[in-house]
């Protein structure tokens, strides 16, 4: 059995060299059917329409056996791993999920030519690499958050004067998280208008906390994977969330909000400052969907007391180890992440993960007549420089489930910041011990 697998691997590698050496030969995969499990949703469909081109070019066929949200796909993949039904070939992947699927996906370094890998943004390739193995090729769905704000708040002379009198500095688009806090409290007028908002549960709030801890000079875990987020930097970071909640500068329900609630909230025009993802840019400035349209500014994310940081992630495609036609699967993955595919997909507003596509898009936006798009893309290009992914360990997701209820406990006042973080660190410490890190 093992020999057979080794033989198949060898054959696949030989075939992959063939693919890598040039474009797929016409009709190369005649009669081959590739089963794929892909992330579904309006913003992802455009790329899948291109699959027909790959089919026409290579003669292969793609059968999409599952199309779900990332969280649902994640659960399905875990069930597949438990049941041993992992012979489907191509799967959507995400930098936050990738480290969990131990042994499921092949190391693409063995299949994809090094020069192709080098065409991607190095940070994205790093975040796709776990334990030295390149587990996915990044698609044009890179996520880092920047600051969306309502411009009108900065064009009102009375407001500016009142703010200066109260806080002692000029009212301008915030550069630091402390300024965001001051301004959010200043702008808030609950229950009609709020200064800002944040994701309040699940991985979402832990990710926000994580980027804030790093911005304050701390970190989530150390090099041995021991939790260190209960440091002073961590406490300063969590205090920021607590202060805003206590001052009623964020909606009372913010602890139950995740991305959709936040996006709809800013689009309702009742939130002054909103750290959010690139996918919302078009939505926020579209009069059909947003009351804030025409009044939206986009700036690089503010910095903490130590650095400017950006918790980021990106989507990608992986090939399973049990796939029978790895050469065809790799060819499909390379097609979906090619320069043409990324240009097409990022035309819809998502961010690319190839260096050349970034350059083309920024240049096109600067020369175009859509000032908002140019402003947003410039902010994201700047924001991406400070981006980093979550720690590449399988326990990341599980640790967030331990940490988020404790963060909430501090925010709603059940525990002090220090108690909450110590309790969370204790739980994560136990998790890491059980995982055998130390």
């Amino acid at each position: 059995m093992k020999d057979l697998r080794a033989f198949r691997m060898l054959m696949a590698s030989v075939a992959a060299v063939g693919v890598g050496a040039g474009a797929s030969a016409a009709g190369e995969f005649d009669g081959v059917t590739i089963q794929a499990k892909l992330i579904g949703g309006q913003q992802y469909e455009g790329l899948y329409a291109r699959i027909a081109d790959w089919e026409a070019e290579t003669g292969g066929k793609v059968e999409i056996s599952s199309k779900k949200s990332h969280f649902e796909i994640d659960r399905e993949i875990k069930s597949d791993m438990a049941a041993g039904t992992t012979s489907w070939c191509v799967g959507s992947n995400h930098s936050s999920f990738a480290p969990q699927y131990e042994g499921l996906y092949v190391d693409l370094n063995a299949f994809v030519p090094a020069e192709t890998v080098a065409e991607f943004v190095p940070g994205n390739i790093n975040a796709s690499t776990v334990g030295g193995e390149l587990l996915m090729l990044p698609r044009a769905q890179f996520d880092v958050s920047v600051l969306y704000y309502l411009k009108s708040n900065y064009e009102d002379a009375d407001k500016s004067a009142a703010f200066k009198e109260e806080y002692g500095y000029d009212l301008a688009v915030p550069e630091t998280w402390d300024q965001v806090k001051d301004q959010a409290i200043f702008f808030a007028d609950p229950p009609n208008f709020y200064g800002t908002q944040y994701a309040g549960k699940d991985e979402a709030i832990v990710g926000r906390f994580y980027e804030m801890v790093v911005a304050e000079g701390g970190n989530y875990i150390d090099e041995t994977n021991k939790p260190i987020f209960n440091s002073e930097a961590g406490q300063r970071a969590l205090q920021w969330f607590v202060d805003l909640y206590e001052a009623k500068a964020v909606p009372a329900g913010t602890t139950s909000y995740v991305w959709d609630d936040l996006g709809q909230g800013f689009a309702s025009g009742t939130i002054a400052l909103n750290l959010d993802w690139p996918g919302w840019a078009g939505f926020f400035n579209d009069p059909e969907s947003s009351k804030a349209a025409g009044n939206v500014g986009v700036a690089v994310q503010p910095m903490g007391s130590a650095a400017r940081t950006g918790w980021s992630g990106h989507h990608g495609f992986s090939v399973t180890d049990d796939c029978e036609n790895k050469d065809a699967a790799v060819s499909l993955v390379m097609f979906l992440t090619s320069e043409e595919s990324q240009l097409a997909e990022s035309a819809g507003g998502s961010l690319p993960t190839r260096t050349a596509v970034w350059a083309t898009n920024v240049e096109a936006a600067q020369n175009g007549d859509d000032a908002f798009r140019a402003e947003a893309l410039a902010a994201f290009a700047e924001g991406a420089k400070h981006a980093f992914a979550v720690p590449p360990i399988p326990e990341w997701g599980e640790s967030t489930n331990i940490v988020f209820p404790e963060l909430q406990a501090a925010i709603v006042g059940d525990k002090t910041v220090e108690e909450a973080l110590n309790d969370a660190a204790e739980g994560v410490d136990e998790l890491m011990r059980e995982a055998g890190y130390y």
Binding site: A82, K201, D202, S256, V412
Partner: protein, 297 residues
């Protein structure tokens, strides 16, 4: 000569096989896995025996026992409120002489909705910013605040209880109504002749007669409510800060999101105790109630 299997056994064999395949084997398998560190993403962990480690972890886990206690509290409140409302509705419907059938059908409407949809419906109704309840309260001038229905510990529990009661009170109403229909008229007429007040009639004749029906409804609903998951998961996800965490939201997160199936199964076995205790209690009460109205225990 070959010995033949007894005929009754051969006839029952298909049923035995089916029950073993769909109930017994999964049960034994899940019990076994609760003694392993089984993670869905690492199938090899299924074969590592860790003894009672998972159970020890659960017994000393304050969060688990808090969820356990909260589930008991939730069960107690929901069952009692549903009983009172169900009893009231059944008594009233019983008095209706015209259009009773239509009324009984309407009564069953909430039961026809999927619990997930009921969860979404109440999540929207209780939303602090755009929800119906806060908008009504603010428009009527009762409050100018955005009440955090799904965030505040007590309010969130109330909202979930409200949704659960809205959906399932009719189970009680229908079962109690069945009891009222089956009730003999003679004792009621005798009580009337003897000059009993309506309260005396209800307390000493109607209620004892209904008690077996009430305990059957209680047993069915206690098993249902102890499994409460969909509504809670949709409305609050057990949060914030575990304020509405019940056993099943905790177990499903441990098993499917954290992929720690071994630990989740151990939690399942510990929490089965809860269902068993409630069931035994209600069956005892049921026997006592049947004995009281002259049926054998």
């Amino acid at each position: 000569m070959r010995r033949r299997l007894p005929e009754w056994f051969v006839l029952l064999l298909p049923a035995f096989i089916v029950i073993a395949a769909v109930v017994l084997i999964p049960l034994i398998f899940s019990l076994y896995s609760s003694f392993t560190p089984y993670k869905l993403t690492r199938p090899s962990t299924l074969w590592r025996w860790v003894g009672t480690y998972n159970y020890q972890k659960i017994l000393t886990d304050a969060n688990f026992w808090a969820a356990f206690g909260r589930t008991v509290l939730f069960l107690t409140i929901v069952l009692n409120v549903e009983l009172l409302l169900g009893l009231g509705i059944a008594l009233m419907v019983n008095r209706v002489t015209w259009g009773q059938r239509t009324l009984r059908t309407i009564l069953m409407f909430p039961m026809m909705f999927s619990p997930i949809l009921v969860g979404f419906q109440f999540k929207f109704i209780f939303n602090d910013n755009v929800g119906l309840v806060n908008n009504v309260l603010q428009s009527l001038g009762i409050t100018d605040m955005a009440l955090p229905w799904l965030v505040d510990g007590r309010l969130a529990m109330f909202s979930i209880v409200f949704a659960e009661v809205w959906m399932s009170t009719s189970v009680f109403a229908i079962l109690i109504l069945a009891g009222l229909f089956a009730m003999p008229r003679d004792p009621l007429e005798a009580a009337e002749v003897d000059g009993c007040t309506p309260w005396q009639t209800f307390r000493h004749i109607t209620l004892p007669f209904l008690m077996p029906f009430i305990y059957i409804a209680m047993t069915i609903r206690s098993l249902d409510v102890a499994r409460a998951y969909d509504i809670v998961q949709i409305m609050t996800g057990g949060g914030p800060a575990r304020r509405t965490e019940l056993l099943w939201t905790l177990m499903s997160r441990t098993g499917y999101v954290d992929a720690r199936m071994g630990l989740a199964n151990a939690m399942g076995y510990v929490s089965i105790i809860l269902s068993i205790l409630f069931t035994i209690y209600f069956f005892r009460k049921l026997s006592a109630a049947r004995a009281e109205i002259g049926l054998e225990g």
